[in-house]
């Protein structure tokens, strides 16, 4: 492995982006296009990871890591699988009402773990399909089929149903118990969900649903940053992997004289501030060692470390500044802040490379590591293998930083700009001619 210290930023990023991309080639079932949630044995597929895979293939083609033919083959396999998959209320189907279960059997493509029919994960899957449809714009039958299937799959989603007769969308649904009871309020990664839902011609979310959701936002001054608060960093990243939020504003952001991109930037800085303070006295935290998000952790238990009672978690959303925080760092979320805050994201990556070679081995960042707990190296406890979600986000965010490729593709996607407009976004690239619906080809 080359010494990160001697490498230029560009070379270092290329290294991590390429490695992250490799995840999708290694963990994909070519027959149905499903991609494993994690690199661990017997991992089921996660539909969100499939969405990331579909978004990453075009990056791979552009960067010469995958042929266009292979990318088309994988994309088509995925779309055909979903188009032909079982859609019904049965507990062992693939989806219902156009949405899909969060986790699917890698081979049979049916629901596993009694998991929920997931709205946000379906959204990420659709975002990947739309990315593919935008990228593969050739006239060949196969590229045409990509676009036709994507359109059909998107139109099949009944967003209106997903509100479950409430003002905002529900988080999920189970055949056994109906809509999940969890409140899903406050700023979250759901922006892209509303954008896609609002734009749907056959079953749109009502126009006021976005307003209903944003009415639960909280504008806060924390550590002297004015921000739309959300604790876990991934919330400030997921929608941004596809949508360039620079200078486009909805009603909320117009009132605050900010935008969601700027908000993600400040949130990254707030994360860093939190780590600098290290109020809970965790090992490693510092200005270049931060990253708090939904990630894998040491497991749910209460430990006594240096006489101090500590509760650690397994896979859970960690957030700042109110917690939960168990000393686990999600290094990928720091790197994925690259488009917003390149300086501190790169500094964090270089720090991870220099201080935690056990964490950064093979250039693929694990879901989480916890230096407060004992382990084989300085990284302490390290999550085994890696997670597709994190790798996909890394590929896309590094790409958006390097070339803005995904953002530019999606700016031309009529559904995205229509959805943004329905949500009340104006200005920036949305007012430019190529984003106007009449300018679409």
């Amino acid at each position: 492995m080359p010494d990160a210290r001697a490498q230029s930023d560009e070379a270092l990023l290329d290294r991590f982006q390429h490695a992250a991309f490799g995840y999708f080639l290694e963990n994909c079932n070519p027959v149905n296009g499903l991609v494993a949630d994690t690199s661990r044995n017997n991992s089921p597929a996660s539909i969100a990871v499939v969405g990331f895979a579909l978004s990453c293939y075009p990056v791979g083609v552009e960067r010469g890591w995958m042929t266009r033919d292979d990318a088309i083959a994988s994309t088509l396999a995925t779309l055909r699988f979903f188009w032909n998959s079982a859609q019904n209320e049965e507990p062992l189907s693939t989806g219902h009402m156009g949405f899909y279960y969060h986790f699917l059997d890698m081979h049979r493509g049916i629901r596993v773990w009694d998991c929920e029919l997931s709205l946000i994960d379906t959204t990420l899957l659709l975002a990947g399909m739309l990315t593919a449809a935008m990228y593969f714009d050739g006239d060949s039958p196969r590229e045409t089929e990509i676009r036709t299937l994507t359109d059909a799959l998107y139109r099949r989603v009944d967003w209106h149903w997903a509100q479950g007769a409430c003002a905002t969308v529900r988080q999920g649904w189970k055949p056994e118990s109906g809509f999940l009871h969890y409140g899903w309020e406050g700023y979250s990664e759901a922006a892209i969900l509303y954008v896609l839902g609002l734009a749907s011609p056959p079953h749109p979310l009502p126009a006021d649903s976005y307003a209903g959701w944003s009415s639960t936002y909280q504008w806060e001054n924390i550590y002297n940053y004015d921000l739309l608060y959300a604790g876990p960093m991934f919330i400030h990243q997921f929608s941004h992997a596809w949508i360039d939020f620079r200078n486009i504003r909805d009603k909320f952001m117009r009132a605050k004289n900010s935008d969601y991109f700027e908000n993600s930037r400040r949130s990254a800085f707030a994360q860093r501030e939190y780590a600098r303070r290290n109020a809970h006295g965790f090992v490693g935290y510092g200005e270049n060692c931060w990253g708090f998000a939904a990630c894998d952790g040491p497991g749910f238990e209460t430990l006594k470390i240096d006489g101090r009672k500590r509760r650690v978690f397994g896979y859970a959303a960690r957030g700042i500044p109110y917690g939960p925080d168990d000393g686990t760092i999600a290094p990928w979320t720091a790197l994925a802040s690259l488009p917003f805050a390149p300086d501190i994201a790169l500094a964090a990556l270089r720090h991870f490379c220099a201080q935690y070679p056990d964490v950064t081995q093979a250039d693929r960042l694990p879901s989480g590591f916890n230096p407060t707990l004992p382990g084989r190296g300085p990284g302490g406890w390290i999550s085994e293998g890696c997670f597709g979600l994190d790798q996909g986000l890394i590929v896309m965010m590094i790409e958006n930083y390097r070339s803005q490729m995904i953002w530019n593709l999606m700016k031309r996607c009529p559904l995205i700009s229509a959805g943004l407009r329905h949500a009340g976004f104006t200005g920036g690239w949305l007012s430019q001619p190529e984003a106007r619906p009449d300018a679409q080809k």
Partner: protein, 510 residues
């Protein structure tokens, strides 16, 4: 209901009773001979009734106070007072276990003395009962009648066989615990706040149903007193209605104490099995079964509106929301007022008292004081405490008030760091573009004490700019409030102002 682990009536009187009973319901009490007509007849001697009766008597009114149970009401006997007493003991145990974080050795073999904790609580309750004792009330000129009150018409009420005529009356009969409708629960037996403080032995495992203030406080207290506690809440978070971040911190704190938490998890069935209570809890379709020794419920409170013949007096009520009152706390019978838990949405001792003060003014002195003008803070006394005043961000948005929140983390407050009490925050909500405080939430060890500065500011219309001028002794935890005000001031430093200040200073150097 007969319960083995709860003090029987006699033992109750002998071991813990004397002082408490002598003060709050003496066995040899004789009701006085009623006066022809009272300026004010008060029904219920809880915080609301007591404040009204003493206040009115102090101003020269002839007052009768009717109580069917104990002077002091829920607050003294089975609410605030006993709960806060055991919370203190439980905090001591928590700190003993945590001694190393304070640079002290953990005492070896910490064994919880449960009966001692309960005994201290009963002793303190007895002591506090002296402040509002029946003797004092009599000395202050209040005619105290023990017995159940019943209206005989729009201007008269009967108690213990006599009829009292009134110019004005106040209904302050409080509330009682709601019974959860869970199959098998009644047969298996359960505790509520009405008998949980009479426990004599420490149960090994306790299920608390309900994650509101009562459930959270008592779950934490009993857990720290060495009981294995399971806390089940059907809502996705504790303290529904409270700020999400506050509930998050609380949930983490409870889990760290070792409470087994089941959120989003209704209890669906209870059965007895070999003396154990076997309980089914459901979470998103998944059923879990646990076995416990005792079950404590805290799922809300129902107003005491029945059995008083309110109809005879023309007083309208709802069994869920209580007696119907207007903003002046007048019922549908203009002579009759209500105060406290029996009519208020926010059921607290201080709101009961504040509403009673309004009633004295309005009923007896032609006052036009409004309930809606009150600015009522509240606090949940878990560790950390969660205190709130004013409106929530959610409510502000509903009312179309744009708000901005200034947040100070307790880990940035020197004194909190030094005290090892860094968990929590101060959030002050202001109307965007101004410094007007519309609400605040504090999560901190002493949040209940800290909120007062903000309540005072809201009451007197003082904004954050003025709060920034208030000097706090250093180091104190309440200086977090000034820090929030400082953060506000910093946001006023616009680029233009900054540029001007730079230019001015450069000029000085020239």
């Amino acid at each position: 209901m007969h319960r083995n682990n709860v003090l029987p009536e006699l033992l109750y009187q002998e071991t813990h009773g004397p002082e408490l009973l002598a003060n709050t319901h003496p066995a040899d009490w004789r009701n006085p001979v009623p006066k022809d007509k009272y300026n004010l007849v008060v029904i219920g001697a809880g915080p609301a009734g007591l404040v009204a009766a003493r206040g009115a008597a102090g101003l020269g009114a002839s007052v009768a106070l009717i109580e069917r149970n104990f002077i002091g009401g829920d607050c003294l006997i089975m609410g605030c007072v006993p709960s806060k007493a055991i919370l203190r003991t439980s905090r001591l145990y928590a700190e003993m276990h945590d001694a190393r974080n304070y640079g002290a050795p953990v005492p070896s073999g910490i064994a919880v003395d449960f009966p001692a904790a309960m005994e201290r609580m009963r002793h303190l309750r007895g002591r506090l009962s002296g402040y509002d004792s029946v003797q004092r009330l009599r000395e202050e000129g209040v005619d105290v009648f023990f017995g159940s009150a019943r209206f005989m018409g729009p201007e008269a009420v009967s108690v213990g066989g006599v009829t009292l005529h009134f110019q004005k009356a106040l209904v302050a009969t409080g509330a009682r615990p709601k019974t959860p409708d869970i199959p098998g629960l009644a047969q298996a037996g359960y505790l509520t706040n009405e008998n949980v403080f009479d426990l004599i032995h420490q149960p090994k495992r306790l299920l608390v149903i309900g994650g509101g203030p009562l459930g959270c406080e008592l779950a934490q207290a009993f857990c720290r007193l060495g009981i294995e506690v399971v806390l089940a809440q059907d809502d996705p978070m504790f303290l529904p209605g409270e700020e999400r971040d506050a509930a998050q911190i609380l949930s983490d704190a409870l889990a760290l104490d070792g409470i087994e938490i089941h959120l989003n998890s209704p209890v669906v069935a209870v059965r007895l099995d070999h003396g154990q209570k076997v309980v089914d809890i459901v979470n998103d379709g998944d059923k879990r079964t646990i076995a416990v020794d005792e079950i404590l419920t805290g799922v809300g409170r129902s107003p005491n509106v029945e059995g008083m013949d309110l109809e005879a007096a023309g007083v309208a009520y709802d069994t869920e929301t209580g007696i119907v009152v207007n903003d002046f706390l007048q019922t549908t019978n203009k002579r009759i007022y209500a105060a406290g838990d029996v009519c208020l949405e926010h059921k607290f001792t201080h709101s009961a008292e504040a509403s009673a003060r309004i009633v004295v003014q309005n009923a007896l002195f032609l006052g036009r004081k409004r309930l809606s003008a009150l600015n009522i803070p509240w606090c949940t006394y878990t560790d950390p405490e969660i205190a709130h005043v004013g409106i929530y961000v959610r409510e502000a948005r509903e009312k179309n008030i744009p708000v901005k929140t200034f947040t100070i983390l307790m880990h940035d407050v020197d004194r909190a760091v030094l005290d090892g009490e860094e968990e929590g925050f101060v959030k002050i909500h202001v109307r965007e573009g101004s410094d007007r405080i519309v609400g605040a939430t504090i999560v901190a060890r002493h949040a209940g004490e800290m909120i007062n500065g903000i309540t005072m500011a809201i009451n007197s219309g003082i904004g954050l700019r003025a709060l920034a001028q208030v000097i706090h002794p250093y180091p104190t935890q309440a200086s977090a409030i000034r820090m929030a005000a400082d953060a506000y001031n910093r946001t006023r430093l616009t680029p233009l102002l900054r540029a001007f200040s730079k230019w001015w200073l450069a000029k000085g150097r020239a």
